[in-house]
């Protein structure tokens, strides 16, 4: 049960800071005045939800609270939780359990792509699925070695080429190997890149296009995002989505004190589901995403 402890520890860290902020609120008394709502907004902003999203949500909660004549702060907080949870788009399909499936992992440098591939490979393998991983990060130093180790840990075969090889052709190889071995779940790691780099985004577009064209099984493109990311996360998601037509998002590093509030803004604006959350560096530190739990973690703990 060690992993379970870790998960809840991860989540409760997220909760604690929010609770602290909220306690400050409550000590102010349950009076639903200007200050109360201002502080609510402040808390959401401090959770990286962004000025605009925070303002919108609080304004609508405030309206509803007045209309329904909600009695106290607790009732408003419940409403807030619901409102936040509702911002998240529901996943129509889970690309990690609805098999066969091929998933490409994309994102900024250091977001947690490779680690997430390792974790997901392990989970699927333990469940008895035929898994294959591919290393299309042929750019970063020792990226292939890193994924190799994750492959070993998960007990999953990895398809790779030498550093500097064309990432699109690696995907080609992976798909071919997948067809040979009858893999049900194929996970492909790509190199981290900034969304502002036109060339690298074009390269990634090619990788995704080749994969979508060549694959005989459904392809999903998943953006991996660090929970500590601030408002730039929205811009990242927009750009990656524009270039690659994303299917969903995974938020990592929720085991810290960052609240991952940017996920609300991203899911809300781009209508992308959050598939999983990362809550640590070990192979078992991956958790299903639950919108209500996430929202509650943000507000009440």
């Amino acid at each position: 049960m060690a992993w379970f402890d870790k998960l809840s520890r991860g989540l409760s860290n997220t909760r604690n800071s929010f609770t602290e902020s909220m306690n400050v609120l409550f000590r102010r008394g349950p009076k639903l005045d200007e200050n109360f709502y201002d502080d609510l907004e402040e808390t959401l902003i401090l959770g990286d939800m962004g000025f605009q999203a925070a303002e919108d949500i609080v304004a609508s909660v405030r309206d509803t609270a007045r209309r329904k004549a909600l009695p106290d702060a607790q009732a408003v907080m419940d409403l807030l939780e619901d409102s936040i949870a509702q911002q998240f788009k529901q996943a129509e399909r889970d690309p990690f359990t609805d098999l066969p499936s091929l998933v490409l992992f994309v994102g900024i440098n250091g977001a947690g792509k490779t680690t997430t591939v390792g974790k997901l490979a392990k989970i699927a393998k333990d469940r008895g699925d035929a898994v294959l991983i591919g290393s299309a990060d042929t750019f970063r130093a020792a990226a292939i070695e890193q994924l190799d180790i994750w492959g070993e840990r998960a007990g999953v075969e990895i398809v790779k080429r030498e550093r500097g090889a064309d990432p699109a052709s690696v995907c080609y190889d992976v798909i071919q190997r997948g067809e040979e071995t009858g893999a049900q779940l194929i996970l492909i790691d790509t190199s981290g890149r900034l969304h502002t780099s036109k060339d690298l985004m074009r390269e990634l577009q090619k990788v995704v296009n080749v994969t979508r064209k060549r694959s005989g099984i459904p392809v999903s493109v998943v953006l991996v995002m660090d929970a500590t990311t601030g408002q730039n996360g929205l811009q990242q998601a927009r750009e990656f989505n524009k270039s690659l037509d994303l299917d969903g998002v995974i938020i990592t590093k929720l085991d810290g004190t960052a609240k991952g509030g940017i996920a609300v803004a991203v899911s809300r604006e781009l209508e992308l589901p959050i598939y999983r959350i990362g809550v640590g560096e070990s192979i078992d530190d991956l958790q299903a995403f639950d919108a209500h739990e996430f929202a509650r973690a943000l507000i009440t703990g």
Binding site: S17, T196, T229, Q231, T257, A258
Partner: protein, 469 residues
């Protein structure tokens, strides 16, 4: 979210400009926008609060309110406050006489420590030191391999020790440096969460074992509000000396830089803006403040240009330009320099209004290649005497470059505009640093002018060139 801070401030202030004298309400309106923009730039909420309060106080001073040009003064107040918050002077990395100097890097997972370590080593090596990289991240798979690969690429030795005990590796790494006559040791450590007590304790013990001259915290420029919690804990547990801001080549405004300064008082030492070893630059508070306010890092561009340009050639160009003999040869040279400096986008980002041009997709890097191909398809004579290029020549050039005549005409049009532009801009550009010789001075000015003209001619007319003064 792209250009919010600079764009919005420019918006507000152009609004103020048209109004003349300011009322208290005007100032509050402007500051409300500033506040919103700062929040969107990821400056911590509490830091923003204090910042705005300070600005307000200063803006309400009679001097600002009653001056003839109050909007200018508001801009100045905001900029001054911002610069002051960033630290008023640029902090230099000064190595002590102790051999070896020890520099330790710490930070969250994925913040860019390993890359920063290699960049730092590259920089020190370039400055005549013989650095040693020490790989103390024993947790992340293949972390030491990554450092090793980077070290090999820049020709800097990497010490890996037993690959198991970070404290022992750090300690023996320093020993190794002494035995092998290395004068600076750079310790790369594992990424860690500030709430992971065990790991924070490990960092403290590495510190204790190696007594670093500098501990730098590497901070991702995209970090949000949590930067305050992270920095505070790192400051109290390992007491770092300065910050390296990474991923500054992205479009994150880097408001975290402001927060971290305010919360810990530690200076930002370097900014890391690219994946190549040379992409580590000193941090200038005033430039960062200006960048945030959308006033452009003009000085930075000039310096980069100077670093890159072949002085002699630049001087010749400038000479020719003064006589208005700007030719396609110069045009091509300028183009190549722009490319060398990291392409148009990189250059533009630092210019006022450049963000807007970038955001609106006006910049097409492929355009540079196309222009190059067209010029390459011209004869030597044509390049030196642009007047020669008539209709049939245009057709030939187009064929040679594999483009339409229309494209050739566009380039010619741009070339002519650039030429005109440059004439106009003469004298607008600041001269180089004194004491570099006449030739160098002219070279710098000439280069800048050319580049700005180039960008102008690339269709970036939204740029406010008056700010270059």
């Amino acid at each position: 979210m792209f250009d919010n801070l600079s764009g919005r401030l420019q918006g507000i202030f152009s609004g103020l400009k048209s109004k003349g004298r300011l009322s208290e309400a005007d100032i509050d309106a402007a500051l409300r926008e500033v506040r919103m923009a700062l929040l969107e730039a990821d400056v911590n909420y509490k830091v923003v609060k204090g910042f705005i309060a300070n600005c307000r106080e200063r803006c309400l001073e009679a001097k600002v309110m009653q001056s003839l040009n109050p909007s200018q003064n508001v801009i100045k107040v905001v900029l001054d406050e911002l610069t002051a918050l960033m630290g008023s002077t640029n902090t230099k990395l000064i190595l002590s006489s102790r051999i070896p100097n020890v520099i330790m890097l710490v930070g969250l997972q994925g913040s860019g420590k390993t890359t920063a370590a290699a960049k730092l080593a590259y920089r020190l090596k370039r400055d005549g030191h013989s650095p040693l990289l020490v790989a103390c991240d024993v947790y992340r798979p293949a972390a030491a391999d990554q450092l090793q690969t980077l070290g090999d690429e820049i020709g800097v030795k990497v010490y890996r020790g037993d690959g198991k005990d970070p404290i022992a590796i750090a300690k023996t790494g320093v020993r190794f440096a002494i035995d092998n006559l290395r004068d600076v040791v750079i310790i790369d450590t594992a990424g860690r969460l500030h709430v992971d007590d065990e790991m924070m304790d490990e960092a403290a013990r590495i510190k204790e074992a190696t007594d670093p001259d500098y501990i730098f915290m590497v901070l991702d420029a995209m970090t949000g509000q949590d930067v305050v919690n992270v920095a505070q804990t790192f400051a109290s547990k390992v007491d770092f000396d300065g910050v390296i801001m990474s991923k500054m080549d992205g479009d994150a405004r880097g408001g975290g830089a402001l927060s971290i300064r305010q919360i810990t008082g530690k200076p930002i030492m370097f900014i890391s803006a690219g994946e190549k070893p040379q992409d580590l630059e000193p941090f200038y508070p005033d430039r960062m403040a200006k960048r945030i306010l959308g006033m452009g890092d003009v000085v930075g561009i000039i310096e980069r240009a100077v670093e890159m340009a072949d002085q002699e050639q630049a001087a010749q160009q400038a000479e020719r330009m003064l006589k208005d003999e700007f030719t396609y040869v110069d045009f091509l040279d300028t183009l190549k320099q722009v490319k060398k400096m990291g392409g148009l986008s990189k250059l533009l980002k630092d210019l006022p209004g450049g963000d807007k041009a970038l955001a609106s997709g006006q910049v097409d890097e492929g355009e540079l290649d196309r222009i190059e191909a067209i010029i390459n398809s011209m004869t030597k004579q044509e390049r030196m005497k642009p007047g020669l290029i008539n209709g049939s020549r245009r057709e030939r050039i187009a064929k040679g470059a594999g483009v339409e005549v229309y494209d050739v005409n566009q380039v010619i049009k741009r070339f002519n505009e650039t030429r005109k532009m440059m004439k106009k801009m003469q004298g607008m550009v600041p001269q180089g640093k004194p004491g570099k010789g006449k030739k160098g001075k002219k070279g710098k000015g000439g280069n800048m002018r050319q580049m700005m003209g180039m960008m102008r001619s690339m269709g970036l007319d939204g740029m406010d060139l008056s700010k270059f003064r």
